[in-house]
Symmetry: C2
Subunit: 264 residues, 2 copies
């Protein structure tokens, strides 16, 4: 991930005084995502795994349904462009794309504005369970994977796991982007996500919860806190929501039946 950071001359002020040093700064890339020649939006992201990000984003927004629909993906990191061409797409603006409700997302996330937005969203019914010890173990691994990015600050991690192990890990300056990168990788590499678990370092807002529920993920684990809408949606959509995982402690906000009782 060294291409996600850059060296800058800075001045560091400490108890010992003021000193010119070199320091690592996280990179930020404006990435414009285009589907069938229609420019959809520009995300600010970390410049790695841009194919995964573009594809994950399009799935999250409902603009792609399967890998087979994709004819071609072209990514140009230099100019910050990701072009995705659907097999069914003509060169002109596609009907379903032009109907895409632009201008509502935050950091590329789907926006949830009212109860009508989640109508038709199927409840997650997976029987997957997890024990507190497994949650703590996965979070420990998650944090150790995040360690290398901590030096530069301000980067969000996301991971795909089953209850026993971490399968994929990625990071991005945006918490929405990090999760989309995970989903994009699953799609492009044919990695099943049924009955699997997502870990995020970031706050669980309604957007994040909806993004995860749409993919049928039964358990969402966060190092941070959820919002009230995140909790309500988790309840409504059948997602087990675990937050504030710190050491051997955690909060279960919704659908606690998937968390097997602690051994003591």
């Amino acid at each position: 991930m060294m291409d996600s950071v850059d060296k800058f001359p800075i001045e560091r002020v400490t108890e010992a005084g003021r000193k010119h040093v070199e320091d690592l700064v996280i990179k930020e890339l404006p990435l414009t995502i285009t589907l069938n020649n229609r420019e959809l939006l520009t995300l600010l992201c970390s410049p790695a795994d841009l194919e995964y990000l573009a594809v994950g984003f399009l799935f999250s927004e409902g603009l792609l349904q399967s890998k087979e629909e994709i004819e071609k993906i072209t990514v140009d990191t230099q100019s910050g462009a990701a072009h995705v061409k659907r097999k069914d797409g003509t060169e002109s603006v596609d009907e379903s794309v032009s109907g895409w409700p632009v201008a509502k997302g935050c950091g590329g996330g789907t926006s949830f504005h009212s109860a009508t937005d989640i109508k038709g969203q199927v409840r997650v019914s997976s029987p997957t369970t997890i024990s507190p010890a497994e949650v703590f173990g996965l979070m420990r691994e998650f944090l150790s994977r995040s360690q290398i990015h901590k030096e530069t600050g301000g980067v969000h991690g996301a991971a795909l796991c089953d209850s026993k192990e971490m399968l994929l890990f990625t990071s991005d300056i945006g918490r929405h982007n990090a999760i989309d990168k995970i989903f994009g990788e699953c799609i492009l590499r044919d990695i099943p996500i049924e009955n699997r678990i997502i870990i995020t370092s970031g706050r669980v807002s309604s957007e994040i919860l909806l993004k995860v529920a749409k993919r049928g993920i039964p358990i969402l684990i966060s190092k941070s806190a959820p919002t009230d809408l995140g909790v309500r949606l988790a309840n409504d959509l059948g997602v087990t929501l675990i937050g504030f995982v710190r050491g051997e402690r955690m909060n279960i906000y919704a659908n606690g039946w998937r968390v097997t009782t602690a051994d003591k």
Copy 2:
């Protein structure tokens, strides 16, 4: 700020076992901002100071230039709507509003996509200076003000200061929103921002830097890290950028001439 949090029944897992308790969860409100009857976007925000947020957002996006342009502001927290009417505005869609580049922002921030976006942006030339001791003192106060929001996690703070004291403090689930709330309050309450300082808890991306530079703020202080584009823009636009302020330590990323040498 009690209206920014809500009580939820959760299960807490600790070393002592698993227990049903009530916990505070931060609220999230989808707020749709309308200018002269044109719906601009829906932000996810904390449900406080929504007038400040709507006005600050419109200024940040260049859709309002002065308080005098505002004829009326209507905010409905229940339905999540903020309507702003400009004096010059007709009931139909206004020319400059319809030209607003939607779909590009993150959390309501202005998007910076290329060098052309900052063309015409005047360099900040304010002679304001600050000493390291003043930075550390302001950050201590900032953190103590943020304390009450820490309980629920995941809330960003923003403050307006001069080098001696904190003048305004606010918070929001979005770091862009928090800064827009500060600016909106300054505009509506006629609080001068010339030669003043902004503190943020959040990462300084290009969007945040540009938002602050547009208001002519000479010094931006963050508890967190900047991105490379944030640092580059700070250099280009004459903003003194200080990050990673922790105790008696900090990094100066750009325009260090406004930081008076440490006393030792």
